[in-house]
Amino acid sequence: MAQNVNIGANRYDVIGRLIDGIVSVMITALVCGTIVVIGYWVYLTLIAYAGKSTSASVAISFVTDFKLDQVFAYFVGGSGALYGYRQRRLMRGNIERLSGRPRELEKRIDPNRTSSGLTPQGTTHPGDR
Protein backbone atom coordinates (compact mmCIF):
# COMPACT_ATOMS: atom_id res chain seq x y z
CA MET A 1 0.00 0.00 0.00
CA ALA A 2 2.77 2.43 1.05
CA GLN A 3 4.67 1.61 -2.16
CA ASN A 4 1.52 2.25 -4.23
CA VAL A 5 1.09 5.61 -2.52
CA ASN A 6 4.75 6.48 -3.26
CA ILE A 7 4.31 5.56 -6.92
CA GLY A 8 1.08 7.59 -6.88
CA ALA A 9 2.90 10.62 -5.42
CA ASN A 10 5.56 10.37 -8.13
CA ARG A 11 2.87 10.15 -10.79
CA TYR A 12 1.17 13.20 -9.34
CA ASP A 13 4.46 15.04 -9.51
CA VAL A 14 5.17 14.01 -13.11
CA ILE A 15 1.62 14.58 -14.35
CA GLY A 16 1.46 17.84 -12.36
CA ARG A 17 4.55 19.05 -14.20
CA LEU A 18 3.08 17.90 -17.51
CA ILE A 19 -0.10 19.88 -16.79
CA ASP A 20 2.02 22.90 -15.74
CA GLY A 21 3.79 22.65 -19.10
CA ILE A 22 0.54 22.39 -21.08
CA VAL A 23 -0.99 25.37 -19.22
CA SER A 24 2.19 27.46 -19.70
CA VAL A 25 2.26 26.67 -23.43
CA MET A 26 -1.44 27.58 -23.74
CA ILE A 27 -1.00 30.91 -21.92
CA THR A 28 2.12 31.79 -23.91
CA ALA A 29 0.37 30.85 -27.17
CA LEU A 30 -2.65 32.98 -26.21
CA VAL A 31 -0.56 36.05 -25.35
CA CYS A 32 1.77 35.68 -28.35
CA GLY A 33 -1.23 34.99 -30.60
CA THR A 34 -2.96 38.18 -29.42
CA ILE A 35 0.19 40.25 -29.97
CA VAL A 36 0.69 38.73 -33.44
CA VAL A 37 -2.97 39.43 -34.37
CA ILE A 38 -2.64 43.04 -33.16
CA GLY A 39 0.65 43.42 -35.06
CA TYR A 40 -0.98 42.02 -38.19
CA TRP A 41 -3.97 44.36 -37.70
CA VAL A 42 -1.61 47.36 -37.50
CA TYR A 43 0.28 46.10 -40.54
CA LEU A 44 -2.96 45.76 -42.53
CA THR A 45 -4.01 49.27 -41.49
CA LEU A 46 -0.72 50.73 -42.64
CA ILE A 47 -0.82 48.74 -45.90
CA ALA A 48 -4.41 49.84 -46.58
CA TYR A 49 -3.42 53.43 -46.06
CA ALA A 50 -0.08 53.16 -47.89
CA GLY A 51 -1.61 54.06 -51.23
CA LYS A 52 -2.56 57.51 -49.99
CA SER A 53 0.17 58.47 -47.61
CA THR A 54 3.22 57.00 -45.88
CA SER A 55 2.98 54.73 -42.84
CA ALA A 56 4.93 57.33 -40.89
CA SER A 57 2.19 59.93 -41.29
CA VAL A 58 -0.38 57.51 -39.83
CA ALA A 59 1.89 56.83 -36.88
CA ILE A 60 2.46 60.56 -36.38
CA SER A 61 -1.24 61.35 -36.63
CA PHE A 62 -1.94 58.54 -34.11
CA VAL A 63 0.19 60.42 -31.61
CA THR A 64 -0.69 63.99 -32.53
CA ASP A 65 -4.37 63.76 -33.52
CA PHE A 66 -5.60 62.58 -30.15
CA LYS A 67 -9.05 63.93 -29.61
CA LEU A 68 -9.86 65.27 -26.16
CA ASP A 69 -12.32 62.44 -25.39
CA GLN A 70 -9.71 59.84 -26.32
CA VAL A 71 -7.03 61.54 -24.22
CA PHE A 72 -9.47 61.62 -21.32
CA ALA A 73 -10.40 57.93 -21.76
CA TYR A 74 -6.74 56.84 -21.83
CA PHE A 75 -6.00 59.08 -18.83
CA VAL A 76 -8.85 57.63 -16.78
CA GLY A 77 -7.95 54.05 -17.76
CA GLY A 78 -4.24 54.58 -17.07
CA SER A 79 -4.94 56.29 -13.75
CA GLY A 80 -7.19 53.43 -12.69
CA ALA A 81 -4.48 50.89 -13.49
CA LEU A 82 -1.86 52.97 -11.64
CA TYR A 83 -4.19 53.34 -8.65
CA GLY A 84 -4.74 49.56 -8.56
CA TYR A 85 -1.01 48.92 -8.80
CA ARG A 86 -0.18 51.31 -5.96
CA GLN A 87 -2.95 49.85 -3.79
CA ARG A 88 -1.51 46.40 -4.38
CA ARG A 89 1.97 47.54 -3.32
CA LEU A 90 0.50 49.12 -0.21
CA MET A 91 -1.46 45.96 0.61
CA ARG A 92 1.63 43.76 0.24
CA GLY A 93 3.58 46.08 2.52
CA ASN A 94 0.78 45.88 5.09
CA ILE A 95 0.67 42.09 4.86
CA GLU A 96 4.40 41.93 5.62
CA ARG A 97 4.03 44.38 8.51
CA LEU A 98 0.92 42.83 10.10
CA SER A 99 1.30 39.09 9.55
CA GLY A 100 4.40 38.49 11.69
CA ARG A 101 2.78 38.95 15.10
CA PRO A 102 -0.26 36.64 14.59
CA ARG A 103 2.08 33.99 13.17
CA GLU A 104 4.24 34.21 16.27
CA LEU A 105 1.21 34.02 18.60
CA GLU A 106 -0.27 31.06 16.71
CA LYS A 107 3.10 29.31 16.92
CA ARG A 108 2.98 29.64 20.72
CA ILE A 109 -0.44 27.98 20.86
CA ASP A 110 0.35 25.37 18.21
CA PRO A 111 4.11 24.69 17.86
CA ASN A 112 3.39 22.20 15.01
CA ARG A 113 1.53 24.84 13.03
CA THR A 114 2.07 24.39 9.27
CA SER A 115 2.60 27.32 6.94
CA SER A 116 1.35 28.20 3.45
CA GLY A 117 4.94 28.73 2.24
CA LEU A 118 4.24 32.11 0.61
CA THR A 119 6.71 35.02 0.78
CA PRO A 120 6.34 37.49 3.72
CA GLN A 121 4.43 39.81 1.34
CA GLY A 122 1.92 37.04 0.60
CA THR A 123 3.08 36.49 -2.97
CA THR A 124 3.85 33.20 -4.73
CA HIS A 125 7.10 31.61 -3.62
CA PRO A 126 9.66 32.10 -6.45
CA GLY A 127 10.29 28.34 -6.53
CA ASP A 128 6.59 27.62 -7.21
CA ARG A 129 6.20 29.75 -10.32
Binding site: V5, Y12, L18, I19, V23, V42, T45, F62, Y85, S116
Partner: protein
Protein backbone atom coordinates in the same frame (compact mmCIF):
# COMPACT_ATOMS: atom_id res chain seq x y z
CA UNK B 1 -10.17 53.74 -49.74
CA UNK B 2 -9.01 54.07 -46.13
CA UNK B 3 -8.93 57.64 -44.84
CA UNK B 4 -6.41 58.99 -42.36
CA UNK B 5 -9.16 59.10 -39.69
CA UNK B 6 -10.08 55.46 -40.26
CA UNK B 7 -6.43 54.42 -40.11
CA UNK B 8 -5.79 56.24 -36.82
CA UNK B 9 -9.01 54.88 -35.31
CA UNK B 10 -7.89 51.41 -36.30
CA UNK B 11 -4.54 51.99 -34.55
CA UNK B 12 -6.40 53.24 -31.47
CA UNK B 13 -8.40 50.02 -31.42
CA UNK B 14 -5.19 47.94 -31.61
CA UNK B 15 -3.65 49.99 -28.77
CA UNK B 16 -6.80 49.61 -26.65
CA UNK B 17 -6.76 45.83 -27.15
CA UNK B 18 -3.10 45.77 -26.01
CA UNK B 19 -4.10 47.76 -22.90
CA UNK B 20 -6.88 45.22 -22.28
CA UNK B 21 -4.33 42.37 -22.38
CA UNK B 22 -2.29 44.26 -19.74
CA UNK B 23 -5.41 44.77 -17.62
CA UNK B 24 -6.26 41.06 -17.79
CA UNK B 25 -2.80 40.31 -16.32
CA UNK B 26 -3.37 42.86 -13.52
CA UNK B 27 -6.78 41.34 -12.78
CA UNK B 28 -5.33 37.83 -12.79
CA UNK B 29 -2.92 38.85 -10.00
CA UNK B 30 -5.79 40.52 -8.15
CA UNK B 31 -7.94 37.39 -8.29
CA UNK B 32 -5.06 35.25 -6.98
CA UNK B 33 -4.48 37.68 -4.09
CA UNK B 34 -8.21 37.78 -3.43
CA UNK B 35 -8.48 33.97 -3.29
CA UNK B 36 -5.49 33.77 -0.94
CA UNK B 37 -7.01 36.45 1.25
CA UNK B 38 -10.28 34.49 1.52
CA UNK B 39 -8.45 31.26 2.23
CA UNK B 40 -6.29 32.91 4.89
CA UNK B 41 -9.45 34.24 6.58
CA UNK B 42 -10.98 30.78 6.46
CA UNK B 43 -7.79 29.20 7.84
CA UNK B 44 -7.78 31.73 10.69
CA UNK B 45 -11.43 30.90 11.45
CA UNK B 46 -10.57 27.20 11.41
CA UNK B 47 -7.60 27.78 13.73
CA UNK B 48 -9.72 29.69 16.25
CA UNK B 49 -12.39 26.99 16.09
CA UNK B 50 -9.74 24.32 16.71
CA UNK B 51 -8.28 26.28 19.65
CA UNK B 52 -11.71 26.82 21.21
CA UNK B 53 -12.64 23.14 20.88
CA UNK B 54 -9.24 21.59 21.57
CA UNK B 55 -8.85 20.09 18.09
CA UNK B 56 -5.32 21.29 17.32
CA UNK B 57 -3.81 17.81 17.49
CA UNK B 58 -6.67 16.06 15.72
CA UNK B 59 -5.56 14.50 12.39
CA UNK B 60 -8.75 15.72 10.67
CA UNK B 61 -7.96 19.32 11.59
CA UNK B 62 -4.28 18.98 10.69
CA UNK B 63 -5.05 17.49 7.29
CA UNK B 64 -7.65 20.14 6.51
CA UNK B 65 -5.15 22.84 7.46
CA UNK B 66 -2.53 21.19 5.21
CA UNK B 67 -5.02 21.12 2.31
CA UNK B 68 -5.83 24.82 2.89
CA UNK B 69 -2.13 25.67 3.00
CA UNK B 70 -1.64 23.72 -0.21
CA UNK B 71 -4.50 25.62 -1.85
CA UNK B 72 -3.07 28.97 -0.70
CA UNK B 73 0.31 28.05 -2.11
CA UNK B 74 -1.19 26.53 -5.26
CA UNK B 75 -3.66 29.42 -5.83
CA UNK B 76 -1.77 30.86 -8.82
CA UNK B 77 -2.24 27.56 -10.63
CA UNK B 78 -5.93 27.05 -9.87
CA UNK B 79 -7.70 27.55 -13.17
CA UNK B 80 -10.63 25.95 -14.86
CA UNK B 81 -8.23 24.78 -17.62
CA UNK B 82 -6.18 22.93 -15.00
CA UNK B 83 -9.31 21.39 -13.52
CA UNK B 84 -10.28 20.09 -16.96
CA UNK B 85 -6.74 18.80 -17.64
CA UNK B 86 -6.50 17.08 -14.24
CA UNK B 87 -9.87 15.50 -14.84
CA UNK B 88 -8.72 14.32 -18.29
CA UNK B 89 -5.56 12.76 -16.80
CA UNK B 90 -7.43 11.26 -13.83
CA UNK B 91 -6.99 7.67 -15.01
CA UNK B 92 -3.21 8.09 -15.27
CA UNK B 93 -2.94 9.46 -11.74
CA UNK B 94 -2.08 6.74 -9.26
CA UNK B 95 -3.17 6.34 -5.66
CA UNK B 96 -2.71 9.20 -3.27
CA UNK B 97 -2.41 9.23 0.52
CA UNK B 98 -5.16 11.86 0.56
CA UNK B 99 -8.77 11.57 -0.53
CA UNK B 100 -11.89 13.37 0.61
CA UNK B 101 -13.36 10.06 1.82
CA UNK B 102 -10.24 9.18 3.85
CA UNK B 103 -10.31 12.65 5.41
CA UNK B 104 -14.00 12.20 6.33
CA UNK B 105 -13.12 8.88 7.99
CA UNK B 106 -10.65 10.71 10.22
CA UNK B 107 -13.54 12.82 11.53
CA UNK B 108 -15.54 9.80 12.68
CA UNK B 109 -14.13 9.87 16.22
CA UNK B 110 -15.21 13.50 16.68
CA UNK B 111 -18.58 14.57 18.08
CA UNK B 112 -21.10 15.18 15.30
CA UNK B 113 -21.08 18.99 15.74
CA UNK B 114 -17.28 19.26 15.27
CA UNK B 115 -17.23 16.82 12.38
CA UNK B 116 -20.03 18.80 10.67
CA UNK B 117 -18.22 22.09 11.33
CA UNK B 118 -14.93 20.87 9.82
CA UNK B 119 -16.82 19.59 6.77
CA UNK B 120 -18.42 23.05 6.47
CA UNK B 121 -14.95 24.61 6.49
CA UNK B 122 -13.95 22.24 3.74
CA UNK B 123 -16.97 23.22 1.60
CA UNK B 124 -16.37 26.91 2.24
CA UNK B 125 -12.86 26.43 0.88
CA UNK B 126 -14.26 24.85 -2.28
CA UNK B 127 -16.79 27.64 -2.71
CA UNK B 128 -13.91 30.17 -2.61
CA UNK B 129 -11.96 28.11 -5.16
CA UNK B 130 -15.00 27.67 -7.43
CA UNK B 131 -15.69 31.42 -7.41
CA UNK B 132 -12.03 32.07 -8.19
CA UNK B 133 -11.97 29.64 -11.11
CA UNK B 134 -15.15 31.17 -12.55
CA UNK B 135 -13.68 34.66 -12.14
CA UNK B 136 -10.48 33.71 -13.93
CA UNK B 137 -12.19 31.95 -16.81
CA UNK B 138 -13.57 34.96 -18.66
CA UNK B 139 -15.63 32.77 -20.97
CA UNK B 140 -17.28 31.18 -17.92
CA UNK B 141 -18.26 34.52 -16.36
CA UNK B 142 -21.92 34.08 -17.38
CA UNK B 143 -21.90 30.89 -15.25
CA UNK B 144 -20.91 32.98 -12.24
CA UNK B 145 -23.96 35.14 -12.83
CA UNK B 146 -26.12 32.05 -13.12
CA UNK B 147 -24.66 30.56 -9.91
CA UNK B 148 -24.46 33.81 -7.96
CA UNK B 149 -26.22 32.49 -4.89
CA UNK B 150 -23.93 30.82 -2.36
CA UNK B 151 -26.07 27.70 -1.99
CA UNK B 152 -25.95 27.20 -5.73
CA UNK B 153 -22.17 27.71 -5.74
CA UNK B 154 -21.96 25.15 -2.99
CA UNK B 155 -23.88 22.67 -5.10
CA UNK B 156 -21.62 23.45 -8.06
CA UNK B 157 -18.54 22.93 -5.86
CA UNK B 158 -19.91 19.56 -4.73
CA UNK B 159 -20.86 18.37 -8.17
CA UNK B 160 -17.97 19.58 -10.31
CA UNK B 161 -15.68 16.62 -11.00
CA UNK B 162 -11.94 16.82 -10.40
CA UNK B 163 -11.87 19.00 -7.27
CA UNK B 164 -10.50 16.20 -5.13
CA UNK B 165 -7.74 15.68 -7.72
CA UNK B 166 -6.85 19.38 -7.47
CA UNK B 167 -6.64 19.02 -3.68
CA UNK B 168 -4.23 16.13 -4.10
CA UNK B 169 -2.13 18.20 -6.52
CA UNK B 170 -2.08 21.08 -4.04
CA UNK B 171 -0.93 18.72 -1.29
CA UNK B 172 1.74 17.23 -3.59
CA UNK B 173 3.08 20.76 -4.20
CA UNK B 174 3.77 21.36 -0.52
Amino acid sequence: MVTLDQATNSLHLAFAVLCLVGLIFLFRDHWIDSLRDHLFSLRDELFLYAVDNDLLQHPGYRELRDVMNGMIRFAHKLTFTRLVLVWMFRRRLGESAYSFASWRRKLLDLPECHSEMLTQFHWKMWICVTKHMLNRAIVLMPLLLAYHRINRLRRLAKEMPGFELLERQALAQR
